[in-house]
Symmetry: C2
Subunit: 180 residues, 2 copies
């Protein structure tokens, strides 16, 4: 489903699947890595309404894993370039790989991909210095996420004539979602 | 043999082979492309002593193809990221795709890969603004090319005891090559 490419090295197309929805690529000799490309292979898309958050993980001085959110890949934006060379002294962020206890080797970092709901991804803020492809990729992503949500929500839209009587169920007018 | 990835889009792994040693990827909507990743798939390496020069081709105002040398991929450095967003007003360079007459569409650019001798690649200078991965990638490449040449040349090295009598054949001491 995913590929990972360190600029200058051979492509990797077989991540380790550490949980049903989590994938990890090893990055040996990570001190000499500037840019990493994460992309979908084009074989299997994300399920509807889902995407992947991309994390960089490296061992700190005590050998503990530090995770930083780099950004996202989605069916609409299936690849991204990240600059990781400036991140090695940064602070860790919240991440969903907590219980994995991935083995830490001093010279090996990881790229972790977590498959999550697009709504959850949109609430996460990647480290700013990792963005390469385009300055406004996050804004674009958020806009697309909202578009997706509108499409998703409106796929359930019904008219009053189609409604079965159920006074306890609330309905939101579609144009409210669109305006938001 | 090659893959090509526009940051934000799906990966392409099936170039058009326009000659025995020349491969072309189409880049639709190239005005909206910032970065392109070119990489070897890892299936077939270059033949010994060969590598690939990577060109960006776009149509000028008159619809004529302008080719610019972005850089190289080799067995030792099988991938590279190039920034093409700054190149669209640049001057063309010498290129080996002259006789191809690839069809030019106003919104479609191309990535061309030409398989050539490493010695020839080392004499070509890519446009400086295209380098992303590392500032000294060209220096590194040249150094590696020289290392390769030394390894290549020294694989033929023999001692005087192994020489068959042939006074007309010249020999170069291995340490001369190494020093150079």
């Amino acid at each position: 489903m995913f590929g990972c490419l360190v600029a200058g090295r051979l492509v990797q197309a077989a991540p380790q699947q550490v949980a049903e929805d989590k994938f990890v690529f090893d990055l040996p000799d990570y001190e000499n890595i500037n840019h990493v490309v994460v992309f979908m292979l084009g074989t299997i898309p994300f399920p509807d309404g889902m995407g992947g958050s991309v994390y960089f993980c490296y061992p700190d001085q005590n050998g503990m894993a530090v995770w930083q959110l780099l950004g996202f890949v989605t069916n609409e934006k299936p690849s991204a370039i990240f600059k990781i060379s400036g991140l090695k002294s940064g602070k860790g962020s919240q991440h969903p790989f907590g219980a994995m206890n991935l083995p830490q080797t001093p010279t090996v970092a990881q790229i972790g991909i977590s498959v999550e709901l697009l709504e959850n991804l949109a609430q996460q803020t990647p480290v700013a210095s990792a963005a390469v492809s385009s300055v406004d990729s996050f804004t674009e992503f958020t806009q697309k996420m909202l578009d997706n949500f509108y499409n998703f929500a409106s796929s359930f839209a019904i008219t009053q004539a189609q409604m079965t009587p159920n006074p306890s169920e609330a309905f939101i007018p579609a144009n409210v979602v669109l305006k938001w």
